[in-house]
Amino acid sequence: MSLKVDAPAPARRPGPHPPGPAKPARSGGGLARFDLRATPYFLVSPYFLLFTLFGVFPLGYTLWVSLHDWELGGDKTFLGLDNYIELIADEAFWNSVINTVGIFVMSTIPQLVLALMLANALNKRIRGRLFFRLGILLPLVTSVVAVAVVFTQLYARDYGMANWFLGLFGVDRIEWQNQSWTAWIAISTMIDWRWTGYNAIILLAAMQTIPKDLYEAASLDGASARRQFWQITVPMLRPTLIFVVFISTIGGLTLYAEPVMFEGNPTLAGGATGQYQTVAMFIVKEGFRDFDMGYASAAAWLLFALILIGTLINYSFTRRIGGNK
């Protein structure tokens, strides 16, 4: 008889539940169940609300604006895809794309290689490990504007340290802002200085999760340190490397502050012939210098597409890392 009384509870909730917790559910009815199901959503909702407000809405609005001849404080006429068509034929836009990709390649590859080497070195037993680990993070704390101002002065033509140093070897003064490749070098060093340590710390954290016995076994088998690095460390780091490459891709393709500061007077043109104008600079210039919001919005959407493409390309590269022997 007593079994019959308890029967409904196990039927509703499979498994050996004590009858106690089931009782409030019966008396509370739907509200408690709603509470149980809705609370998690309610608790995570602030993020999604904010994301809708500051992520989805601007995204849609930008798309809407990009379909118009939308002048800031002026006329608005619907154009359809004209902005995009014009943009694809715009040399200045593609010039900014080339600059962005150029600076990205020039800064990211040495940066990641360096970060990997740094992390590997910091993973060894060295004296003052904590000091060095904190030390490589320091550049990240500095303001990007301060970094850009200092580096811009280092690369100044007349009184800059880079030219002074080259002068010791009899090299003529370089006008760093004058050609694409010199400007790219200057900007890449700013990025590398600031972000290498950040990536190194992330890679270091990942390295420390690699089981030590793998290395011990490899040592017993007579594998050299170099071989251990390439055959154990790098493959085991793959997920982290993918993350780091993603973040660098997004950061690199939206590069803005460094080249703007490098210019000195912020006209956002990136040099006389746009030698180092990035896509982000191009967007802001079109929108807030030439007040052509429609054109700028279209460029922002193309940048979005570019970032997707760039990330996918990098993903397919990174996926192969250490995948085979």
Binding site: L59, Q153, D158, P266, A269, A272, F304, I307, L308
Partner: protein, 447 residues
């Protein structure tokens, strides 16, 4: 993966997010004590004034203090928003105007954006409604006409004015065996050919790689030249009076361009772009001997050169005569809840008293003629520039100013065109291709 994607999207819409933030942040500019009733005279009204500019900027602190003491019913709240006009103040102002709220009751506008504002007559109050049409005789024709919008209505009155002189380093002149007295220096160059000859003499005495050059770079020279040439060619620069781009056909621009090119080719420039850190460093370290100086530029030079260079700089007459480069305006946006009181305050700030007080505070040369004739302005000497009688020099240089029409996209075309000049001077654009590139860049910026 999800995380990265989200960030990518966010990055792609960053521009719009910035816009949204800028618009929401405008709320702070609302007049605190304003009421919807407006008409009630007994109730005190707060008029906000927003300006821009570095250093002392418009110099309205004393003028506002005086006004507030004398007018308990109309209190003025004066705020200088930023030192950067083109890339900070102007976009924000346009957003506030478009949003229909957030702009001050009186806003400052730089000359470079006057073409843009003229074309947006829907945003500004007609000042002649409040009797300010009567001020016409107070201003040089050029300054007055620039304050009329595309419908011919008065919407802005002038604050300061450019005028034109040539700043030079006495110590470098002395070293090169040139005269240092400002009268004699002015006589060295009655025209630009003579200026070129002086430059060649200077350069002959400074042959070394690290020696100073004669001129700072292409920008100041070009702007001085254009401000002189434009009045000779129908009073237009990049745009004709129907707002059509004439960069390739206006002889004023070609003449200014060719003159700059010849100075650059002769190796007389230090190849510096104006308002960059390198340019500032060269002002401080004596990297060049002369530069074109409108009145407001004196403050820029003394600021960049610092106290240790006091007295090394001086001011002489400019080759080629009068011209105007720069200067600002005040206007009342239509969204102001108290346009009548705002116009009253505007009238005061651009009147003789306001001009003189602002001049004493910020040293920008007043555009109103009664203020120019005031002894406080006319007899002023500039301590930094070797006690040069700047009041007298600038007063003389603005006397014969003619109005130059500025098109709607003047500022954009000007920026793009000057970039080409810089590139030509620095060697990234060959001299032979520079003119084509110059016209191309201007055309693109206007489109």
């Amino acid at each position: 993966m999800l995380n990265s994607k989200r960030q990518g999207r966010l990055a792609a819409v960053a521009v719009m997010a910035v816009t949204a933030l800028a618009i929401t942040s405008c709320g702070s500019g609302e007049p605190a004590g304003s009421t919807a009733s407006g008409g009630a005279a007994a109730e005190p009204v707060t008029i906000t004034v927003h300006t821009f500019g570095g250093g002392e900027n418009f110099g309205y602190d004393k003028a506002v203090e005086k006004w507030n003491a004398e007018h308990p019913n109309i209190q003025v709240k004066y705020q200088n928003l930023t030192d950067r006009f083109e890339d900070v103040y102007l976009p924000q102002l346009l957003q506030k105007l478009q949003a229909g709220s957030g702009a001050a009751d009186i806003v400052g506008i730089d000359e470079g954006a006057m073409g843009l504002m003229k074309a947006r007559s829907q945003f500004f109050a007609d000042l002649s409604q409040y009797g300010l049409e009567s001020r016409k005789a107070d201003f040089p024709a050029a300054k007055w006409e620039n304050g009329l919008n595309k419908d011919g209505k008065l919407f802005a009155l002038g604050t300061d004015i450019g005028g034109m002189t040539m700043c030079y380093r006495t110590d470098l002149f002395e070293k090169a065996g040139l005269p240092t007295d400002r009268e004699e220096v002015g006589k060295l160059w009655p025209d630009w050919n003579a200026f070129m000859e002086t430059g060649k003499k200077f350069q002959a005495a400074n042959k070394g790689k690290d020696d100073p050059k004669f001129i700072d770079g292409p920008n100041t020279l070009y702007n001085v030249l254009l401000s002189q040439e434009a009045p000779k060619n129908g009073n237009i620069s990049y745009f004709d009076k129907s707002n059509q781009l004439v960069i390739g056909t206006n002889p004023a621009i070609k003449t200014a361009f060719d003159t700059v090119k010849s100075f650059s080719e002769a190796g007389l420039t230090a190849k510096l772009a104006s308002f960059t850190p390198e340019w500032n460093a060269a002002i401080k370290k004596g990297g060049f001997a002369t530069m074109g100086c409108p009145a407001w530029m004196l403050g820029v030079v003394s600021g960049a050169a610092g106290d240790e260079n006091k007295g090394k700089w001086d001011v002489a007459a400019v080759p080629g005569g009068a011209g105007n480069w720069g200067g600002s305006y005040l206007a009342v946006p239509k969204q102001s809840k108290h346009p009548k009181e705002a116009a009253e305050v505007l009238n005061y700030l651009t009147g003789k008293e306001g001009h003189v007080l602002a001049f004493q505070e910020a040293a920008a040369f007043p555009s109103s003629i009664p203020a120019q004739q005031d002894p406080a302005v006319a007899e002023l000497k500039n301590e930094f520039f070797n006690d040069a009688p700047t009041g007298q020099i600038f007063g003389a240089s603005v006397k014969d100013l003619l109005p130059v029409f500025l098109g709607e996209k003047h500022a954009q075309v000007k920026t793009a065109a000057e970039k080409v000049l810089e590139g030509m001077d620095k060697g990234s654009i060959p001299y032979g291709e520079a003119w084509t590139k110059f016209v191309e860049a201007g055309t693109k910026a206007a489109g």
